[in-house]
C-alpha cells in the first residue's frame, strides 16, 4: 500500500476533493426525502401553495448542484486514479530493470507481465471506485440513520437493527460464494488449457486418433465446472432477495410503529413517508457497497502482488565507479574455484571451476544440454554472481566494476536471438546510441550480415518486426552477433550463437572473429566440435564440472567424453 500512497501524494488535492464532492452530492440525496416531507406536512396538509413551489425549486437546485458536484468528483477521482497508477506502472517497470537475472528467473517473465498490465489495471479500478464510493455509500447509510433519528428516535432503532442485519447478510453470502467463485476460475483456467492443447496438438491428436478421448476429458471438466457454477449461483442469487426482504420487513415495522406515533400526534404522515424513503435508500447503497468491497479486495490483492515486486531489492550491487586499478593483466578471464547454484536449495549448476583465458585467446566450451555451459559464460558479464569462488575480468574481480564498464568490456550473444521492434539500426545501437554508419557496417561485415542487410529495402533502416519475425533464424543470429561487436568489447561471448548458420557461413564468421581489428578474447559455446575445434583451448563440461581442458587434438586423445561427442558428429565424414 505504501507505494500506492506515495504515488497518490502528488494527487493529494484530487484525492481529497473527489470524496468531498461525492459527499456533498450524497448530502443532497439525503435531503430529498426531507424536502418531500416538508412539502407534504407544511404544504399540502396546511394548504400552503407557495411551500410547494419552494420545495420544487429546492429539488431542482439540488439536482443541478448535485450533478455539478458529482462531475467534479468523477473528474478528480479519475485523474487521481489514472495519474497515480500510470506513475506506479512507470516505477514498476523501472524497478524491474534493476532486478538481477536471478530475481527475474525466480519471478518469471509472464508474472512480471501480468503485474505490469492486469494487476495495475485492477489497482486503477480500485482506486477510482474507492475515491468515488467509499465515502459516499457509508455516508448515505449512516446519514439516513441520523436523519431517521432526527425524525423519530424510537423508529430509528428499526434502522439500526435493519442495517446490522443487512450487513450480516452481505458478509455471510460473500464469504460463502467467494470460495466458489475461485473454484470456478480454476476450472475455467483448466478449460482454457485444454482448449489450447487441443488446438496446438491437433496433428498429433488426429494421427493417434485420440479425438474422442480428448473431447471426453474436456467434457468432464466442463461438466464439473457447470456443477460448481450451479452450486455457487444458487447461493449468490440469495443476496438480492434476502436484503430485499429485510428492507421490506423494516418498512412494515416502520409503518406499524409510525402509525401509532401519528395516532399519538408525535409524527406527521409526511415524516413516515420520509422514513420509508430512507430505508429504500439504504438498500440501494448497501448493494453498491457490497460490489465495492469485492472490487477493493481484488484491487488490494493486486496491489500486494505489485508491492512484492517493488519490495524485491536488486539482488546485485555495483560500485559507483570502478577503482581505476591497472587492467593490464595478461589474463582476460579467470575462474578460481567457482561454484554456482541458482536457488538456495537447488542443485549446484556449476561446481568448483578453475581456468584462465589469456588476452586475445579463443576459448571453446562444449558439452551436452544442461551441462552448465550457459551458466558458466553468464558469470563473466555478471549476469549472476558466483555462489563460491572468484570470477575475474582483466585481472580484477567482476564485482569491482561499475555496471556500465562491464557492459562495455563484455559483448554477449545469447542463445536465443532476441531483436526488438524497430529498425536494424535501432537494434544494433542498443548499447551505444551514437555509433555511426561506418561502425555499424564494419560490425555487420564481421558478423557476415552485411550482405543481406544491403539487400533489404532501406538497408540499416529496414524495418524489424516484433521478435524479428520478418527475419530468418540465421539472419537474426548474425544481427545479434553484429550488435555485440559494435562496442568493440574486450571479451566476446557467443553462446551457441551460430546454430542456425550453414557450415560455410559459420566458418567464415569464425575466420572474421579470429582477425578482429582490436584485441579481443572470444569465448565460443557450442554443441558441435566443428565450431570450436580451432580454439586455443577447449573446456569440456559435464554436469556442471570441467571434465577436460586443452586443445582439440589433446582432448581427442585424453578426454573420452570429447571423443564421443566428436565421433558422433563426424562418423559420416570419416566414413567417406
Amino acid at each position: 500500500m505504501k507505494y500506492l500512497l506515495r504515488k497518490l501524494k502528488p494527487f493529494r488535492k484530487e484525492s481529497i476533493l473527489a470524496p468531498a464532492f461525492k459527499m456533498l452530492e450524497a448530502m443532497f440525496d439525503l435531503l430529498v426525502p426531507m424536502v418531500v416531507a416538508y412539502v407534504i406536512d407544511s404544504g399540502v396538509r396546511v394548504q400552503d401553495q407557495p411551500v410547494l413551489y419552494r420545495g420544487f425549486v429546492m429539488l431542482i437546485l439540488m439536482a443541478i448542484v448535485g450533478l455539478a458536484c458529482s462531475f467534479t468528483a468523477q473528474y478528480f477521482s479519475a485523474k487521481a486514479a489514472i495519474g497515480s497508477t500510470t506513475a506506479l506502472r512507470h516505477d514498476l517497470y523501472a524497478h524491474i530493470q534493476t532486478l538481477s537475472f536471478r530475481d527475474q528467473d525466480r519471478i518469471g517473465v509472464s508474472t512480471l507481465m501480468t503485474r505490469l498490465t492486469a494487476d495495475i489495471l485492477q489497482v486503477q479500478n480500485g482506486v477510482n471506485l474507492f475515491l468515488r464510493l467509499f465515502l459516499r455509500s457509508p455516508f448515505i447509510v449512516f446519514g439516513a440513520l441520523i436523519m431517521a433519528f432526527s425524525i423519530s428516535s424510537r423508529i430509528s432503532l428499526i434502522f439500526l437493527g435493519g442495517i446490522a442485519l443487512l450487513f450480516l447478510c452481505v458478509i455471510v453470502i460473500m464469504r460463502i460464494t467467494g470460495k466458489g467463485f475461485r473454484d470456478i476460475q480454476k476450472y475455467m483456467d483448466k478449460l482454457t488449457l485444454l482448449s489450447r492443447e487441443n488446438l496446438e496438438g491437433v496433428r498429433v491428436i488426429r494421427a493417434f486418433r485420440a479425438e474422442d478421448a480428448e473431447e471426453q476429458s474436456f467434457r468432464e471438466q466442463n461438466q464439473d465446472m457447470q456443477k460448481q457454477q450451479f452450486r455457487t449461483g444458487r447461493v449468490s442469487a440469495l443476496l438480492g432477495p434476502l436484503t430485499g426482504v429485510t428492507v421490506n420487513l423494516c418498512i412494515i415495522l416502520i409503518l406499524h410503529l409510525g402509525a401509532g406515533q401519528v395516532n399519538g400526534g408525535i409524527l406527521l404522515s409526511g415524516q413516515v413517508v420520509a422514513l420509508v424513503n430512507y430505508m429504500n435508500q439504504i438498500l440501494v447503497e448497501l448493494v453498491k457497497l457490497a460490489n465495492l468491497v469485492v472490487t477493493l479486495s481484488k484491487a488490494s490483492a493486486s496491489m500486494n502482488r505489485v508491492s512484492q515486486i517493488l519490495d524485491t531489492c536488486p539482488g546485485m550491487q555495483y560500485p559507483e565507479s570502478s577503482s581505476s586499478a591497472s587492467t593490464d593483466s595478461d589474463t582476460a578471464v579467470s575462474f578460481d574455484h567457482v561454484s554456482l547454484r541458482y536457488s538456495e536449495s537447488g542443485e549446484a549448476s556449476l561446481r568448483n571451476l578453475t581456468f584462465q583465458v589469456r588476452r586475445g585467446e579463443t576459448l571453446g566450451i562444449i558439452g551436452g544440454t544442461g551441462c552448465g555451459k550457459t551458466s558458466l559464460v553468464s558469470l563473466i558479464p555478471r549476469f549472476y554472481d558466483a555462489t563460491e569462488g572468484e570470477v575475474c575480468l582483466g585481472g580484477r574481480n567482476v564485482r569491482s566494476y561499475a555496471r556500465g564498464e562491464i557492459i562495455r568490456k563484455v559483448g554477449v550473444v545469447m542463445q536465443r536471438p532476441h531483436l526488438f521492434q524497430g529498425t536494424i539500426r535501432s537494434n544494433l545501437t542498443l548499447g551505444c546510441p551514437d555509433a555511426d554508419d561506418t561502425v555499424l557496417w564494419e560490425a555487420l561485415e564481421q558478423a557476415q550480415a552485411a550482405e543481406f542487410v544491403r539487400e533489404k529495402k532501406g538497408g540499416l533502416d529496414a524495418e524489424v518486426e516484433q521478435e524479428g519475425r520478418n527475419l530468418s533464424g540465421g539472419q537474426k543470429q548474425r544481427l545479434t552477433i553484429a550488435r555485440a561487436l559494435i562496442n568493440k568489447p574486450e571479451v566476446l561471448i557467443l553462446d551457441d550463437a551460430s546454430s542456425a548458420l550453414d557450415y560455410a557461413t559459420d566458418a567464415a564468421l569464425r575466420r572474421n572473429l579470429s582477425s578482429l581489428s582490436w584485441p579481443c578474447t572470444v569465448i565460443l559455446v557450442s554443441q558441435r566440435t566443428a565450431t570450436i575445434q580451432q580454439a586455443d583451448r577447449i573446456l569440456v563440461m559435464d554436469h556442471g564440472q570441467i571434465v577436460g581442458q586443452g586443445t582439440h587434438s589433446a582432448l581427442l586423445r585424453d578426454c573420452p567424453l570429447y571423443r564421443e561427442i566428436h565421433e558422433s558428429q563426424y562418423q559420416e565424414g570419416e566414413a567417406e
Binding site: I40, V44, L59, I82, M113, T192, R206, F208, G233
Partner: protein, 585 residues
C-alpha cells in the same frame, strides 16, 4: 433495429442449446413477471398505509393491519420469485455455455486442418472461452434484465395512468430527455473506450516484447532507451484512459440528474393535485416512489444494449467456427495396410495462385525409406500433410496398397501411420497418459516396454513419481530431447506399418541425439518410412531422396544418382560436407 435483427438471429440459433433448459427459461420469465408485479405493488400498499394515517387520533388501525399483512405476503413472494428468477437465469446461461463449449470442442476435433492452420490458436481459444462467456452472460442475463426492465416501465405507466392521467403524462413527456442523455453519453464513451483498448493492446504488446528481451536490455545497458519507449506508450495510455474513464463515469450522475428532475416535477404536480385533494397523500408517495423507480429501467436497458451488441459480435465469432464444414468421415472404417505407398500425378497448392506440388509421382514399396531433404521452410511438411490426409490432393491420387486413400476414412488411414514431429507436443497429464496417448487400454508392461525401446525408461524412473509424474503444459519441465524421446515412446507403443519422422535435432545434445537415432532405427526396421532428414547418414541410406526447395520438389533419386546429376542436392550435400571437412583440416 439492426441489433434486434442480429439478436433474434442469434437467439434462434441458440434455441437448440436452450431446449434442455426450457423449464428454466419459462420459470425465469414467469418469476420476473412476479418480481415486477410485487415491486410495483409494494409502493402502492405503502401509499395506502400512509393514507390510513390521517392525523392524530385518526389512524385506521384495522385497515392498516390488513395492508401491512399484504405487504408482508408480497415481500415474501418477491424474495422467493427473485431468487428463483436469478438462479434459473443463471442455470440457463451456464447450461447454454456448457453445451456451446461441448459443441465447440467436438467441432475442433473434426474441422479440416486447412481451417485450423489459418486461424491462430490463441484466437480460437478466446472464442471458446471468453466469447462463449459473453454470449451466455450478455444474451441471457441481458434478456432477463431487458424483460424485467420493459415490464417495469409498462407496469409503472399503467398504474400511474390509473391514479392520475395528468401526472403520468408529465412523466412520459420527460422520458425522451432521459433516453437522449443516456444515448448521448454511451455514444461518446464508446469512441473513447475503443481508443483506450487499442492503446492498451499496444502497451501490452510492448511490455511483452520488452519483458521477453529484458536480459538483452540489461546486457547491453539499454534500460534508459527501453524506459523511454515504455513511457511514451504509458503516457499515451494515461490520456486515453483519462478520457474513457471520465466520460463513462458521467453516465450515472447524468441519468441520476434527469431522474431527479423528473422527481421534482412529479413532486410539484402531485402536491398541487394533493392540495386540491384530487389525490391523497398516500397516492402522492406512490407517485414519488414510482418517479424514483421509473428511470431505473431506462439506465439498465441502456447498459443491456451495450452488452447485447457485444454478445452478438461474440456469437458471430463462435458461429463462424460452428458453421465451418467438417471433414467427412466416410470411407472404410478399418484397414490393415501392407505399407506400399504410391503417389500418382499428384498436384497440390495451399493457395489457388501459388502452385506448390505439381504432377508428382512416386512409388514406395513396403519397407522402403524415403528421405525428404531441403532447407527450412521448403515445404517438407506439405508432403506429411498429404500422406496423413491432413490435406487432400487437388488432382492425382495417393494410394495405399493400390487403394486410393480417399476411399478410406481418415481414421482408418491414420491408424496405419506412426508420426513423430519436430514440434514435440505433449499433453498436460502424467507420463503414462502421454505414452499411452493413442492406446489408452495399453497394459503397464506394454507402456514400460515402449519407454525402454525409446531409451527413456531410465529417465522416467528417476522422476519423483516415475510414470505418474505430471507433465506441465507442453512439457515445460522436460528438456527438448526428453520430450522427443517421449514422443517416440508414444509411437513405439503402437508401431504401425508406416512411419513419418521429422528428425529435427538441432537443439539436442549429441549424446541424447545418439539415443534418438537408435530409437528411430529400431522403429524403422521393416517399415515404410518417410523421414525429414538432417543427418547425412540417414540421407545416404535412404532408398529414395526427395529434394525440396521453396515449396517445390526439385530432384528425386538415390544418393548416387543425385550426386551424379550434380544439381541442387549435390550443392547442398557438398556445402555441408565440405564445411565439415574444412573444419576438420
Amino acid at each position: 433495429m439492426k441489433l434486434l435483427r442480429g439478436y433474434t438471429k442469434v437467439f434462434r440459433r441458440l434455441m437448440g442449446d436452450l431446449r434442455p433448459n426450457r423449464m428454466d427459461l419459462i420459470l425465469t420469465l414467469v418469476c420476473s413477471l412476479l418480481v415486477t408485479l410485487c415491486q410495483l405493488y409494494i409502493p402502492v400498499l405503502c401509499g395506502h398505509a400512509v393514507d390510513t394515517m390521517i392525523g392524530a387520533g385518526g389512524v385506521r388501525f384495522d385497515l392498516l393491519r390488513n395492508i401491512l399483512l399484504r405487504i408482508l405476503v408480497c415481500s415474501c413472494l418477491l424474495a422467493l420469485s427473485q431468487w428463483v428468477m436469478t438462479a434459473c437465469s443463471q442455470r440457463l446461461s451456464f447450461g447454454v455455455s456448457f453445451r456451446l463449449r461441448n459443441r465447440l470442442i467436438r467441432k475442433i476435433q473434426t474441422l479440416p486442418l486447412s481451417y485450423l492452420d489459418t486461424h491462430p490458436s490463441g484466437d480460437m481459444v478466446s472464442r471458446m472461452i471468453t466469447d462463449v462467456e459473453n454470449i451466455s452472460e450478455g444474451m441471457l442475463m441481458g434478456l432477463t434484465q431487458l424483460f424485467t426492465g420493459l415490464t417495469m416501465i409498462i407496469g409503472v405507466l399503467i398504474i400511474m395512468a390509473r391514479l392520475s392521467l395528468g401526472v403520468s403524462a408529465v412523466v412520459v413527456g420527460m422520458t425522451p430527455l432521459g433516453m437522449a442523455t443516456a444515448a448521448f453519453i454511451v455514444r461518446r464513451t464508446s469512441k473513447y473506450f475503443k481508443k483506450q483498448s487499442v492503446i492498451r493492446g499496444k502497451e501490452t504488446a510492448l511490455i511483452h516484447e520488452l519483458m521477453d528481451g529484458q536480459k538483452v536490455v540489461q546486457a547491453f545497458g539499454y534500460e534508459k532507451g527501453a524506459l523511454e519507449r515504455f513511457d511514451e506508450v504509458n503516457e499515451e495510455l494515461r490520456d486515453a484512459s483519462m478520457k474513457a474513464t471520465f466520460f463513462s463515469s458521467l453516465t450515472n450522475p447524468s441519468t441520476r440528474m434527469v431522474n431527479n428532475l423528473v422527481y421534482a416535477v412529479v413532486c410539484l404536480v402531485c402536491s398541487l393535485l394533493a392540495i386540491r385533494q384530487s389525490i391523497t397523500i398516500g397516492e402522492f408517495s406512490i407517485f414519488l416512489s414510482y418517479a424514483g423507480q421509473y428511470a431505473k429501467p431506462f439506465n439498465e436497458i441502456s447498459g443491456v444494449i451495450t452488452e447485447l451488441q457485444n454478445s452478438v459480435a461474440c456469437s458471430e465469432r463462435v458461429f463462424e467456427i460452428l458453421d465451418t464444414l467438417e471433414e467427412d468421415v466416410s470411407g472404410e472404417k478399418e484397414y490393415q495396410a501392407e505399407g506400399n505407398v504410391s503417389l500418382d500425378h499428384v498436384s497440390f497448392r495451399y493457395r489457388e495462385d501459388v502452385p506448390l506440388i505439381d504432377d508428382f509421382s512416386l512409388d514406395v514399396r513396403k519397407g522402403q525409406r524415403i528421405a525428404i531433404v531441403g532447407p527450412t521452410g521448403c515445404g517438407k511438411t506439405t508432403l506429411i500433410n498429404l500422406l496423413m490426409r491432413f490435406y487432400d490432393v487437388h488432382s492425382g491420387t495417393i494410394s495405399l496398397d493400390g487403394k486410393d486413400i480417399r476411399t478410406l476414412s481418415r481414421s482408418a488411414l491414420r491408424a496405419n501411420w506412426g508420426m513423430v514431429l519436430q514440434d514435440t507436443w505433449l499433453k498436460s497429464g502424467t507420463v503414462r497418459e502421454n505414452i499411452a496417448f493413442g492406446h489408452r487400454e495399453a497394459s503397464e508392461e506394454e507402456i514400460i516396454q515402449a519407454a525402454k525401446d525409446a531409451h527413456i525408461d531410465g529417465f522416467i524412473r528417476q522422476l519423483p513419481k516415475g510414470y505418474d509424474t505430471e507433465i506441465a503444459e507442453n512439457g515445460a519441465n522436460l528438456s527438448q530431447g526428453q520430450k522427443q524421446l517421449l514422443c517416440i515412446a508414444r509411437v513405439m507403443l503402437a508401431l504401425p506399418p508406416m512411419l513419418i519422422l521429422d528428425e529435427a535435432t538441432s537443439s539436442i545434445d549429441t549424446r541424447t541425439e545418439i539415443l534418438i537415432q537408435r530409437a528411430f532405427s529400431r522403429m524403422m526396421k521393416g517399415r515404410t518410412s518417410f523421414i525429414v532428414a538432417h543427418r547425412l547418414s540417414t540421407i545416404r541410406e535412404a532408398d529414395t531422396i526427395l529434394v525440396m526447395k521453396s515449396g517445390h520438389l526439385v530432384e528425386m533419386g538415390n544418393h548416387r544418382s543425385l550426386m551424379d546429376q550434380n544439381g541442387f542436392y549435390a550443392e547442398l550435400y557438398n556445402s555441408q560436407f565440405s564445411g565439415a571437412e574444412a573444419a576438420e583440416a
